[in-house]
Amino acid sequence: MSDNAPDKQISDATQVSRRGFISWMSIGWLTFAATMGGFATMVGRFLFPNVLFEPSQSFKAGVPEEYQPNSVSTAFKAKQRVWIVRTDDRIFALLAKCTHLGCTPNWLANENKFKCPCHGSGFRITGINYEGPAPRPLERVQISLADDGRIQLDKAVTFRHEKGDWEHPDSYLMV
């Protein structure tokens, strides 16, 4: 650094003007905040893995003739969390997950509705919500006929009524 006037250097350094001090302070704090923010982002990113080892989302569910008109099949609820509903002319699959806070509703055949035990949301057989706090209808999952004539379901693709998805040909099967 300086070899001729160390004393001057020191006195220069100690006499920082107010404006200079404030700008150095802000640069210091900004750098500190940016570094901390950078570390926090890295930690945050670390918590989201690149590859997910989740169980397969698609499965087969028998032939369409197995399902009675105007009934709800609960056969796949325990394993796959899906109800298969047949109305007069269509078969579709509803995800057994309440749109309020994700509890599993129950199908009450006598009262002809899905009722959620957590906060009392109720859905008609079509999946439309009509009572309780649920903000929107249940979701349908992708349904198609496989080559062997059995019903193929894929939970990775869902269809929401409020977005108009239920008109999508993959959201139901005609019978």
């Binding site: 609820k77 325990a78 394993k79 969390r81 057994a96 309020h100 806070l101 509890c103 599993t104 509703p105 129950n106 009262e111 009722k115 959620c116 035990p117 957590c118 906060h119 009392g120 109720g122 009509y130 009572e131 309780g132 706090p133 903000p135 409020e162």
Partner: protein, 371 residues
């Protein structure tokens, strides 16, 4: 005789009734301003905080508990291991409420007579040595606490239910008891409000208290009269919006999240018709006799207007009228924050009341969010 009392208690404890009683009685018991304070004194409600009043409160609470204990249904709820802490909380919070109010009343009397509060000690003999005067108290407290914990652990087994099963939701299924006030809010507000925005505001609001209430002259001793606005509002939040909600959520919410009186059998098939409507439907369909307009802004206009009035018109109005002195003392910034937190807290009881009496579902309902 017993059945008619039970029936009476069942009716009384319905949230529509019990909450209304609590809501209106509360500010007379804990007056927030001079007007309420006068009525409080006239009714002699300060007697609650005397020793006799305390004994009366506890005798009636214990009597109620013992009376309830004869009923099998009631007994099974209060003796559920995870509900025992709530009994502890109930008695604890009432006891310490009484203790603090008792001392506050004593100090208020001393302050009125120009005496210093009881906690104040002459400068000359102010200090005591930590060893041994404090450490032996700490030792006794720790030993008693450990004894309580050990006895509790030996007598009551920690609950363990069936193994986890993602396909079968138990009915009812409840959050841990200390979150039940939040779960109760979920009945009235959408999850993003009840689960995220309100908890955040509770935390921020609590942290903001000392930055709004900065009067140092009432720091460090129990008192009520000089701090009545803040104490009254804080107690309203703590006792009514938190402890009461926990008790409702634990003891009175049954299958289907339906409401059941303490002596009512939990009927799995109880059906309560819930046909809730939005503000837009109330205004356009019921009041104006029209169909709902198509444009979303026009349709939700009344609800948006209501919320804007609530948060933007009411605060200046209050500042000009009933809270004038308060506004002048606090300044506009502190006042704005203060009134915002108060109105947000009050929005919960208001939404509850409008749900019960107007069947209101949402003020604003859009495909993206509902309020």
């Amino acid at each position: 005789m017993r059945e008619s009392i039970q029936h009476f208690i069942n009716t009384l404890s319905q949230p529509t009734i019990s909450f209304l009683i609590l809501f209106f009685l509360f500010f007379f018991i804990f007056p927030p301003n001079a007007w309420f304070h006068r009525i409080n004194r006239k009714l002699g409600l300060e007697a609650l905080w005397t020793v006799k009043g305390g004994i009366a409160i506890f005798a009636s609470m214990t009597a109620l508990l013992i009376f309830g204990g004869f009923d099998a249904n009631f007994r099974s709820i209060i003796l559920k291991p995870d509900n025992v802490p709530i009994i502890l909380l109930l008695f604890g919070s009432i006891f310490f409420l009484w203790l603090s109010m008792h001392q506050a009343m004593q100090n208020d009397r001393r302050l009125r007579g120009d005496e210093p509060p009881e906690e104040w000690v002459k400068e000359s003999d102010r200090k005591v040595l930590v060893w041994p005067d404090l450490v032996y108290i700490e030792l006794i407290a720790m030993v008693l606490c450990m004894v309580l914990l050990l006895v509790w652990s030996i007598v009551l087994k920690a609950p363990l239910e069936e193994p986890a099963d993602p396909s079968a939701t138990p009915n009812p299924s409840k959050a841990p008891w200390y979150f039940l006030a939040l779960q109760e809010m979920l009945v009235y507000f959408d999850p993003w409000l009840a689960g995220v925005v309100f908890p955040t505001l509770i935390i921020v609001g609590l942290m903001a208290i000392p930055y709004m209430d900065t009067d140092r002259s009432t720091s460090g001793f129990y008192s009520y009269e000089k701090r009545r606005t803040f104490i009254s509002l804080f107690l309203f939040g703590w006792l009514v919006l938190w402890v009461y909600m926990i008790i409702v959520g634990t003891f009175l919410r049954g299958p289907g999240w339906n409401f059941f009186g303490p002596f009512e059998r939990w009927d799995l098939h109880k059906v309560v018709a819930l046909n809730n409507v939005n503000v837009s439907e109330i205004v356009y369909v019921k009041m104006l006799g029209q169909t709902l307009p198509d444009g979303i802004l026009i349709r939700e206009g009344p609800g948006i207007l209501l919320i804007l009035v609530y948060f933007l018109v009411i605060p200046p109005l209050l500042a000009k009228t009933s809270l004038k002195g308060f506004f002048n003392r606090m300044g506009s910034v502190k006042y704005s924050f203060f009134i915002f937190f108060c109105l947000t807290a009050l929005s919960l009881p208001l939404k509850m009341l409008s749900r019960w009496f107007l069947n209101l579902k949402y003020f604003i309902a859009t495909p993206w969010f509902n309020i």
